[in-house]
Amino acid sequence: LTTTAPNPLAEGLHEYRTASPAVMVIFGGTGDLSSRKLLPALYNLAKQRLLPPGFALLGAAMDQIPADEFRKRITTSVHENSRTQPVDDAVLESFLSNVDYLPIDFGKPEGFQRLKQRIEELDRESGAGGNAVYYCATPPATYASIAEGLAGAGLARKEGSQGLRRIVVEKPFGTDLKSATDLNAVLQRTFGEDAIFRIDHYLGKETVQNILAFRFANAIFEPIWNSHYVDSVQITVAEELGIEHRAAYYDKAGALRDIMQNHALQLLTLVAMEPPVAFDAVAVRDEKVKVLRSVRPFRGEEVARDTVRGQYVEGWVLGEKVGGYREEPGVAADSQTETYASLRLRVDNWRWAHTPFYLRTGKRLPKRVTEIRVQFKRPPHLTFGREATRDLEPNAITLRIQPEEGISLRFGAKVPTAGIRIRSVNMDFLYMSSFLLDAPDAYERLIMDALLGDPTLFTRADEVETAWRLIDPIEASWRDGKPPLQTYAAGTWGPEAADKLIEGEDREWHRP
């Protein structure tokens, strides 16, 4: 990255961030992710005037279609999926005037030579200054061959007076430690770590970033954010949906790889990390990695004791009867893939010693909800007596990530009667009630960050590998049937064994 003095003209333009002009190539430009997320996000960036003059978009995919057809598909996807409606035709038209398309076979070197030629033409036409950003909206198995293809055509590393080169890849980053390490090695060899942007779109969510704002922009919470006051932390990532035509992927991945290894552990790092010295890529990611390194690795029988895996069977979700996992199209009748996982983790550092972290994720749970619940210890002495505080639960702060982003504080209050009776009440804060502004979509934020070259909200290689180091022993033990796969009825909060996991320590799962 080139270090240069700040642009004096940008001063005072709040929320203004501008990237250098670039040709952005989306591999898989005609695919589902592009259509649902990336292209609408780019349109909305254009609408907010955040795309720099000189920006050009090149769709690259296997489909043999002309550029006009690609532009038509963009128009359709923006109309169907843009978060801002109605679509501004003037913005869309000006955006499309800088869009082109190239059919390409990712497996053939000549395809990348044609790509090089087309990028150079677009660069001249748009004044992109030789800068290129490549977005892999393709199956993870293609990342390495795309990176190698780009490198083979001289399109990867910045050399001499060439412009910047960056590559963006989507999670999952590998399927275990070895595959993740192999992928990192290819990407680092071809692009270099500074130019790799690994997207876990959870980190682009406004409310996930708000965890850091809540913790580190306020003085009143951090002093009690430790094992002296915190009894336990629960992280829930629940979905009411099943696998939705993703059997081919999901049956190999399971809940542990699909959600726990990335989203759930990311939330853990944000809630448990030490204050970074600055909100920048190095400081924030260093602290996140430290948390992952502090998590006590599972050994031997610990997996059977501290983890639960489950698979949903027939049940009722949102008032509708749904089939079991093994009845989903494309899933083997004897599939052992878990659709539910819960873990009890210990974070062995000064702040969190003796505070357990309970993580759970699953499909076909009662509702879609993601939240972090920090439960505090009870007061050391019951001033009002046991009877008066019979209904009083421990204090808790709940950070709600989705669907209703907000923060809830539970505390005790006197019931307005003649006697003394203390009951738990909630003080709720909803982001939507105080900030009625449309939050940008996670992809808008992350695409913009990739164009700007700001990797703070992207996952670093060591972060990915450290997470896999925690997950691999669990996977290995689960393959050996330890603990055995449990079942749970669709529409419930998981198998009974998950309740026992937490009840054994005189706690219970919070009902989100």
Binding site: H14, T18, G129, S434
Partner: protein, 393 residues
């Protein structure tokens, strides 16, 4: 006098409204009624065993207006604003101070249930005041303010910038909002605004809706000069041309602010300036590197554009033995877009269309209010614009 506010952006079926009005009332009664309506609305959705919904007001906004039409317009804008920022708004319609003392008022409280069911409240108090109380604006407004949140004072039209009543009103707010596009005598008011800005304490902010309107132009220039390879040209600018809508001198404030922004940001020192016929202003400056810079702006008749609106901007620069030229022009054939054309050295000129849609007043207010109290870039641009226009007089 019932409020005719239509809440744009709110789903009418989810808005619950309580209203009160009186043709002859007292401030004490208004405060009581506001409190009653607010509490009643808060309890409205809550069940017997629930708490009333918490206050989610994030600011007070006080608008001073002097005409029925303006009052209605401002009422609508503030209601729009509340769909983004839950707020209490107070519209003070100033009638003649020479008439007998009288206060008429209306209150409208809306609770809008958001999609997830939680209500957001907006309270709007409209006061019609005549008589001596108008010389004590603070006593009219302060009892109605929600505590512990910022208060923004929006003075529509031409604020009496040197009037004691104005200074008294400033004491109760954190930010003064004006619109220099609406100044009756733009030149004189701009100078007065610059003087006020120079005198105010650092805690007090001044915002100008017209400054928010030129933001798009600032963004385009900032984006153009973002790549490090173009940065030398930024410090090598030697010519600036700005066209604005109007005839004769018209309203030069936006053009002046844009020029003032460039001068103050790039450290150009004003040497001299002259005004010619047809609103032409030419200013001669010196860049920190010692080379001369010429700024010219002129009015151009333009249908469909508000008077004073910037129509185009041209820059010429030289650096590293190369020249660069940039122009941004509103595209009259494609509303909401501009054509950016630039050429650097021997490279083929590049032409691109950019979205550059005009913002409505509610959006401009949001832009200004989310920035915070004080915008030092605006203040220094305002002072530089005042210097430049004063020299050209």
């Amino acid at each position: 006098m019932a409020s005719s506010v239509i809440l744009r952006g709110l789903a009418p079926e989810r808005v619950r409204t309580l209203e009160w009005q009186s043709e002859d009332t007292t401030m004490a009664e208004i405060v009581t009624e506001l409190s009653r309506l607010s509490a009643k609305l808060a309890h409205g959705e809550a069940g017997d065993d629930q708490h009333p919904h918490p206050r989610n007001c994030v600011m007070n906004i006080v608008a001073l207006v002097d005409g029925h039409h303006i009052a209605r317009h401002v009422g609508t804008i503030l209601a729009d604003l509340s769909t983004h920022h839950p707020s209490r708004s107070i519209i003070l319609h100033q009638h003649s101070p020479d008439l007998e003392q009288k206060i008429a008022a209306s209150i409208r409280c809306d609770a809008h249930a958001l999609v997830h069911g939680e209500p957001v409240q907006h309270e709007q108090v409209t006061l019609h005041v005549q008589g001596a109380a108008l010389e004590h604006i603070r006593s009219l407004v302060e009892p109605l303010l929600t505590p512990d949140v910022r208060t923004h004072l929006w003075w529509t039209g031409t604020p009496p910038l040197s009037d004691p009543a104005m200074h008294q009103a400033l004491e109760l707010c954190d930010t003064l909002v004006v619109d220099s596009a609406a100044f009756e005598r733009p030149f004189d008011s701009l100078l007065a605004l610059a003087k006020l800005a120079d005198e105010l304490s650092v805690e007090m902010g001044i915002c100008d809706l017209h400054w928010a309107r030129v933001r798009t132009w600032r963004e385009v220039l900032a984006q153009f000069f973002e790549p490090p390879s173009r940065r030398p040209f930024l410090h090598g600018i030697n010519g600036v041309g700005i066209d604005y809508a109007g005839e004769g001198r018209g309203n030069r404030v936006a053009a002046g602010l844009l020029a003032g922004w460039l001068c103050s940001t790039l450290g150009w020192r004003l040497k001299s300036a002259a005004a010619g016929k047809g609103g032409v202003v030419a200013a001669y400056l010196e860049a920190p590197a010692g080379h001369p810079v010429e700024i010219a702006f002129r009015s151009v008749p333009a249908t469909g554009q508000a008077e004073g609106e910037v129509l185009s901007l041209r820059l010429e620069a030289a650096a590293n033995r190369q020249t660069a030229a940039l122009s941004v022009e509103l595209d009259p054939e494609h509303e909401g877009t501009a054509i950016l054309t630039y050429g650097i050295g021997e490279d083929r000129p590049v032409k691109q269309r950019l979205p550059i849609a005009a913002s409505e007043e509610a959006d401009l207010l949001i832009q200004l209010l989310v920035q915070g109290r004080r915008d030092p870039v605006f203040l220094r641009s305002l002072l530089a614009a005042a210097d430049l226009l004063r020299s050209a007089k």
